[in-house]
Symmetry: C2
Subunit: 259 residues, 2 copies
């Protein structure tokens, strides 16, 4: 009898989010599932880890269930670290994160708790995928995403990912029959034009709320994730944690910094 | 008369850290300095941004001083965003972050608040450098680092960085005459072997402290930052925020995910 793959499931919207519920449901059709997810929303946490505080981890579903769920007081990256080292009794075959409520395409990958969990697993040498749906609402509908999530996970288990690569999957917020399929892409150049909403508290002290508008700096580039999403494709970006700008090493050497 | 460059200074150890004091001192010999730095330590914050809370920003030095310093209640990335949009009256010519108390070489770049600030400035199209000294102690000695920091900043202003690239500079914790100079490198492959120290609180509830040991997976590779640092060089890694694993796009396309 073939042993089923062990799948570690996490996210950044917190263990009660509908997105992780959808992901758990699909993963249970593929393997043995253990969930270790934040006990509160962690959006925008990037690759934060908890160095200056303790971590609590608790089983939160019945031991009679077919899979175990643990909530953790830390960040998404913490959940993966403690999941691998303390919760799981063997090394997982896969780590999936999400389904995030909202886009992690383009530069959003760098602010994303969802993707930081996937990258953390990748750093540990575990195949990993982050999934995001382009709908930030709590009552987002994940049903169109599910068959694609299943297919991408099954293909990843079958083909195995290149070393040092995790997948960043973003899914348009449209019905299943409007989806044009899956497209392998690169991260579009983009940034956020922030606006800071300045207010005063009852004591007259000023404070700010961070807000802003995403700007795609590469409209109409067909090889980018943003183009794929705008054209009703699911975008899959192979994503790495080697941040070296290899092609610029030579140029920097020409600066002759030691002279 | 040539206008002096405007330099935004930040860090992740907080505005009172000796490392940022050393950096401010050097930057004042080069340009006009404005400091916007966290009001408390933010180590390990990765690229976190504050979405679910307000931000406070306050001038914390005398208006009679030759440079302005602001403390911010947010993360290093928040400091850069609010610094550029709300505090500065013109676009800075450079953003420097640090000098961090502790290494941000190898995979540490991804957990680093210091580097997230530099990367945030880079995303905004502003030349940026993160500096770190390999001594995590509060009373670390930054004097050997200072002339090199000055030289790297002056060269960056003179040569201008390639688009999409920021510098990750790490400095060995040794005396100035033991330093062998500056080496352009790539990020060494490495990870953390975490250990979780399990304890019980007075009510008997279990909790964990994250701890661990860094493992260099590429010992003796002379083009890596870890090799440079072990051999008494200052490492300079050109670092990018395009996380696409470009060389693996073709391989993933061969998976034929749409079949």
């Amino acid at each position: 009898m073939t042993k089923k793959p062990l799948i570690l499931v996490t996210n950044d919207d917190g263990i009660t989010a509908p997105g992780i519920r959808a992901l758990i449901e699909v993963m249970k059709t593929i393997g043995d599932v253990v969930v270790v997810a934040p006990n509160s929303p962690q959006s925008g946490m990037g690759h934060a880890i908890t160095l200056d505080s303790m971590l609590f981890v608790e089983r939160v579903n019945s031991t009679k269930e077919s899979h175990a769920e643990y909530s953790c007081s830390g960040t998404p990256a913490d959940c993966v670290k403690i999941g691998i080292r303390e919760v799981l009794d063997r090394r997982p075959n896969l780590c999936v994160s999400g389904i995030n409520h909202g886009s992690n395409a383009s530069i959003n990958v760098i602010y994303s708790g969802t993707m930081s969990a996937a990258l953390e697993a990748g750093i540990e040498g575990i195949p990993a995928i982050g999934f995001s749906l382009l709908n930030y609402k709590w009552d987002a509908n994940f049903s169109a995403a599910k068959p694609y999530v299943k297919s991408i996970v099954e293909n990843t288990l079958k083909n195995s990912l290149p070393e040092g690569v995790v997948l960043n999957v973003n899914i348009p917020n449209i019905s299943e029959n409007s989806l044009n399929g899956i497209k392998i892409c690169r991260q579009a150049k983009g940034n956020w034009e922030e606006t800071f909403d300045k207010r005063k508290n009852p004591q007259g002290k000023e404070y700010y709320w961070l807000s802003g508008k995403f700007v795609n700096l590469e409209n109409k580039k067909e090889d980018t994730d943003e183009w794929a999403l705008e054209n009703n494709f699911i975008s899959v970006v192979p994503t790495q944690f080697d941040l070296t700008a290899h092609k610029h090493i030579k140029e920097l050497k020409s600066w002759n910094l030691n002279e």
